[in-house]
Amino acid sequence: MLPVVVVHGGAGHIPKERSEKSTTGVCSAVRAGYAVLQGGGSSMDAVVEAVTQLENNPSFNAGCGSVLNIKGEVEMDAMVMDGKTLASGAVSIVRNIANPIQLARLVMDKTSHVCLAGEGANQFARSMGVPEVPLESLITDYSRMRWKKNLEPGANPVECQMGKMG
C-alpha cells in the first residue's frame, strides 16, 4: 500500500476558467512529492516539496497568488508536522517570504518552539538566511482584482471565496 502522497488546493468555488490550472497544479505538485518518496526521501521531505510547488504556482492561495488582506497586503500562514516524533513548526502572519512552508520546517528543525508569528517570524527567516522577496512578487492580477471587488459596499469575501455548499 505504501508509499503515497496526497495534495489539495483550496476548498470552495473555483471559477471555470481557473479549474484546469488548479487541476494541473495539484497533479504537478503530487508528482514532485511522489518523486521524493521514490528517491528514498521521507514523508516530511515529500509534503514540503509538494507544498512548495503549490506555493510557487500563482493559481493557488499560498505563496505567490495569496489573497490580500484589507490593506492590500499579503500575510501568510504555514505549518508542518512529523508523525514520527509529533514535532511541529509553524509561521503565522509572515510577510515577503516566497515559501512559508520551508520557513515552518525551519521553525520545527532549528528552534524549540512550535510557532513564530509576524515580525518575529521574519526576523527568524533573516537569521536562517531565507531571502525576503518584494511584496509585489507575491501578488497576482487576479488576487488584486478580487481584493478590489471585495472592497465594494455589501461585498461578502467569505461567500466569494467559499462559494456554495456542494
Binding site: M1, V6, G9, F60
Partner: protein, 140 residues
C-alpha cells in the same frame, strides 16, 4: 489554501499546509492553518490530515484532530474524513475539505464545499479530481 500528507516507505506520516488566508481579512487575522490539530496533524500511530476551508469553523472543531480521533475509534480514512466534515457543517455551519492518510497508505480526499482540487500518487498511478465524486486516474 494548499496542503499535503504523505506516508513514506518506513510508514512515517507527515502533514504540511500553507495559505494566504481569507479574502480581505483583517490585518493580523490568523486562521486554522498554523494551528496544530486544526490546519493539520500527523501521528504515526493514527495517520495524517491537512485541511482547507472556513478557518474559524475548522478551529472551533479542531477538524484535523477530530478526523484522527474517528480513525482511532476504528473508522476508515474516508469515513473519518466525512464524519469530521459533517460535524463541522452541522455544528458551526462550516464548509471545507481534507486529505487524509493512515500509516498503511490508505488515503482519502474529501470535501463538503462545491469543489476542491486534489491529487494523489501511489503505486505509479496518479489520481485526481475537482468536483464531488470525480476520480480520474492515469499512469505516472
Amino acid at each position: 489554501t494548499v496542503g499535503a500528507v504523505a506516508v513514506d516507505i518506513e510508514g512515517n506520516v507527515a502533514s504540511a499546509t500553507s495559505t494566504g488566508g481569507i479574502l480581505n481579512k483583517m490585518e493580523g487575522r490568523v486562521g486554522d492553518t498554523p494551528v496544530i490539530g486544526s490546519g493539520g496533524y500527523a501521528d504515526n500511530e493514527i495517520g495524517a490530515v491537512s485541511t482547507t476551508g472556513h478557518g474559524e469553523a475548522i478551529m472551533k472543531t479542531t477538524l484535523a484532530r477530530l478526523i484522527l480521533f474517528h480513525m482511532e475509534q476504528g473508522q476508515s480514512v474516508e469515513a473519518a474524513s466525512d464524519l469530521g466534515l459533517a460535524y463541522m457543517k452541522s455544528r458551526v455551519d462550516g464548509l471545507g475539505g481534507v486529505v487524509t492518510v493512515d500509516p498503511q497508505g490508505h488515503w482519502a480526499a474529501r470535501f463538503s464545499s462545491l469543489q476542491m482540487s486534489w491529487a494523489a500518487a501511489q503505486k505509479n498511478t496518479l489520481h485526481y479530481g475537482l468536483y464531488t465524486g470525480e476520480h480520474f486516474t492515469q499512469s505516472i
